[in-house]
């Protein structure tokens, strides 16, 4: 499947930049079906067990044109772009679509995908209220319905043994990626944050076994580097879609080094393994519940889990000097939480900066000015406290 290339990392970056190209090649090579899964919680292991390539549908870089009248301007860039991709036939490579989340903007966009295309779209929202007495039963029911829907979609029975095998492969992939992120937290600087994003993004797109093999090659080919004296930052937020790599590069070019994150295209995606010692479907239910504890998500409600506390703990653990919050413009769940998050960071004396992102582009010079000002502020307080 993988095209020969200069190096494994370059191949992963290429695939992260052009998911459709990979999916097309995969389908041609295997004759299999591919589904588009919407972020952020679809249990792709079930699709894998059914022999289907499950791909997290990525934001494209194309300007929004035909889809402009399908969703209002006040939807996040990802959902507006999804609607546009659907309207322009850019999602035709997928044979069906699965939704496990319930952000109202995402629902609107997926409804456009259903309207605009002629592929089956399955709406299977997982419960958002995580602490109710009936949550677990509801999640179990939903996992069962995903299995049934995928069985119907493929015409194949999905047995427990198939599912257990898929879970093992996915866990292996997550563990491998987590080891790279853990190394970064501990001072490794082999990969830039844009490269790490490509590792995760390509995992969302590729066949997992193939991805794991390619990442292992990339690790073997990489020249190890240790972190230097740059200001250490934690990147927070940005759900569903990837912040542009040039934004990550600009942040690091300003004299910072990203040492940790809770981005969906980062730590959030790989945070949690599925238990291998219990019945597979029950293990997937537990995985869904555990994910929100590993890295809390503002699209979920859980009274004993707190994103602020998680973020402050992460900052302490990684030794980050400051936090940059990346927020997709009009991302309502994030907007709702942000004031509390900012208050908590300020109260703890953690310098922080908000950068809003938009599908339409990035005012790079203005971003640089704000990032540099944050770094100057951090550097000054470090000197003052030295």
């Amino acid at each position: 499947m993988t095209q020969p290339s200069a190096g494994a990392l370059s191949t992963l970056i290429e695939i992260a930049e052009n998911p459709t190209g990979y999916v097309t090649r995969w389908k041609t090579a295997t004759g299999g079906k591919a589904i588009g899964a919407f972020p952020m919680n679809f249990p792709a292991e079930i699709a894998h067990a059914a022999g289907v390539l499950s791909v997290v549908v990525q934001e494209s870089r194309e300007p929004i044109t035909s889809g402009r009248n399908l969703l209002t301007e006040f939807y996040c860039g990802y959902t507006r772009n999804l609607a546009d991709q659907a309207a322009r036939g850019r999602l035709d490579v997928y044979d069906g679509f699965f939704l496990a989340d319930h952000c109202i903007q995402l629902l609107g966009a997926v409804d456009v995908v259903r309207e605009e295309g002629n592929r089956p779209v399955y709406f299977g929202q997982l419960m958002a209220s995580m602490g109710d007495p009936w949550t677990r039963t509801a999640v179990d029911g939903k996992m069962l319905s995903f299995r049934e829907e995928l069985a119907e979609f493929t015409g194949r029975t999905i047995g427990d043994a198939d599912l257990a095998r898929s879970i093992r492969l996915f866990n292996e992939n997550r563990r491998l990626l987590r080891s790279v992120f853990d190394a970064r937290r501990a001072g490794d600087a082999t990969f830039t944050s844009a490269e790490l994003q490509a590792l995760v993004k390509s995992s969302m797109v590729m066949d997992k076994e193939e991805h794991t093999a390619l990442v292992r090659r990339a690790l073997a080919e990489a020249r190890a580097a240790r972190r230097d004296g740059r200001i250490r930052l934690h990147l927070s937020g940005h759900f569903c879609h990837a912040p542009r790599p040039e934004l990550l590069r600009a942040i690091e070019d300003c004299g910072a080094i990203v040492v940790d994150d809770d981005l969906f295209h980062g730590t959030r995606y790989i945070s949690t393994d599925v238990r291998e010692d219990v019945e597979p479907l029950a293990a997937l239910s537990q995985w869904y519940l555990d994910r929100n504890v590993s890295v809390p998500c503002p699209t979920r409600v859980q009274h004993d889990v707190d994103w602020d506390a998680y973020l402050l703990d992460s900052v302490r653990a990684s030794g980050a000097d400051g936090v940059i919050v990346l927020m997709a413009k009009f991302c309502e769940p994030h907007m709702l939480y942000y004031p509390e998050l900012r208050k908590a960071l300020n109260a703890a004396g953690v310098p922080n900066l908000l950068i809003e992102t938009e599908h339409e582009g990035l005012p790079l010079e203005s971003v640089r000015t704000r990032v540099e000002a944050l770094l100057e502020r951090i550097r000054h307080s470090q000197l003052a406290n030295a």
Binding site: E356, S366, R370, A373
Partner: protein, 313 residues
């Protein structure tokens, strides 16, 4: 030890260069309005400042660049953002300042300053020119007058018209439509000034209002804009006589302070620096207090043309 240090602030519409002595006192400065991060404007500002200080480039120990074009300054030793430089310059010029509102040609920022005169927090407009100097250029074009005439026009306006503060381009069509409806230019001008002030309040809210407040940037030379903002903030605003050069001045101070081998300054140096800065910042061509002393008793006071001593390190 070099005797002179330079700060160059290459902003979106104006280039500014300030030269200070080893005692932190102002020696010379020059502002040149050339538009869009102009290298030629920067060259003229730098050459002009050197000429009036009777110095050559080789006499300058260290140069710090700031502003959007900071990386374009030739021979620059280091760059700092305009946020850090404005905070530094204003804190030196107006000791005790806690909030700086800087409104330049194409951006505006609110900078919270800590008790030591360094940046504590900041907020800036990012991708829209609303609430900036550009907004006033649009207004002047629509009203067919010079930007300098806007303050006088706004002062004579009495009616409060609704003008969107969201977008500079749409504001222009709104102004044209108000004119078509028979609205008076002074009322339109006054209302646009209030809209800009309201927009700036949003920035201030992001960092938290605190006093004393100093306003800088080209728009601080527009007495009506200062006044509308003081009213909106319900607070006194201090405007240095040369509000456009505080960023370059801060950059020059940082050039001095980051110069290796700079000797500790003595009390006599500091006194000389204070005198020299006070003289340099003494009111000259900035809007006079008379422009601002509006008879309306509800108006907040606006302090213009305060002498500015250099802060003791």
């Amino acid at each position: 030890m070099s005797e002179h240090f330079m700060g160059v602030d290459l902003g979106s519409t104006t280039a500014k260069a300030v030269i200070i002595g080893a005692d932190a006192g102002m020696v010379a400065w020059r502002t040149v309005q050339m538009g869009a991060v102009s290298r030629e404007g920067m060259r003229q500002a730098v050459d002009g400042a050197l000429e009036s200080a009777e110095l050559r480039r080789a006499d300058i120990g260290r140069v710090i660049g700031t502003g959007y074009g900071r990386r374009l300054v030739p021979g620059v030793d280091r760059t700092f953002t305009e946020i850090t430089c404005h905070a530094r310059g204003v804190a030196a010029a107006c000791p005790g300042v806690r909030l700086v509102i800087d409104i330049g040609g194409q951006d505006s920022k609110a900078i919270a300053v800590d008790r030591d005169g360094f940046v504590e927090d900041f907020a800036m407009n990012d991708r829209c020119a609303s609430g900036t100097g550009r907004f006033f250029e649009v207004l002047a074009r629509a009203l067919e007058c010079e930007v300098d005439e806007l303050a006088g026009l706004a002062r004579s306006g009495s009616e409060d018209l609704e003008v969107s503060s969201m977008c500079a381009t749409f504001a222009e069509t709104e102004i044209v439509s108000l004119l078509a409806q028979g609205a008076e230019p002074p009322d339109i001008a006054a209302s646009v000034h209030r809209a800009v002030a309201a927009r700036t309040l949003g920035l201030v809210a992001q960092v938290g209002k605190r006093r004393p407040i100093v306003m800088t940037g080209g728009v601080a030379k527009n007495a009506a804009a200062v006044h509308a903002l003081a009213e909106a903030l319900e607070s006194e605003l201090i405007v240095p006589p040369h509000p456009q050069i505080t960023g370059a001045y801060g950059a020059a101070l940082l050039a001095l302070e980051t110069y290796e081998g700079a000797p500790p300054r003595r009390a006599a140096d500091l006194e000389r620096a204070e005198e020299s800065a006070a003289a340099a910042f003494a009111p000259q061509s900035s809007p006079s207090c008379a422009d601002c002393e509006v008879s309306d008793s509800t108006a907040r006071s606006v302090v213009l043309g305060l002498p500015i001593p250099v802060r003791r390190p």
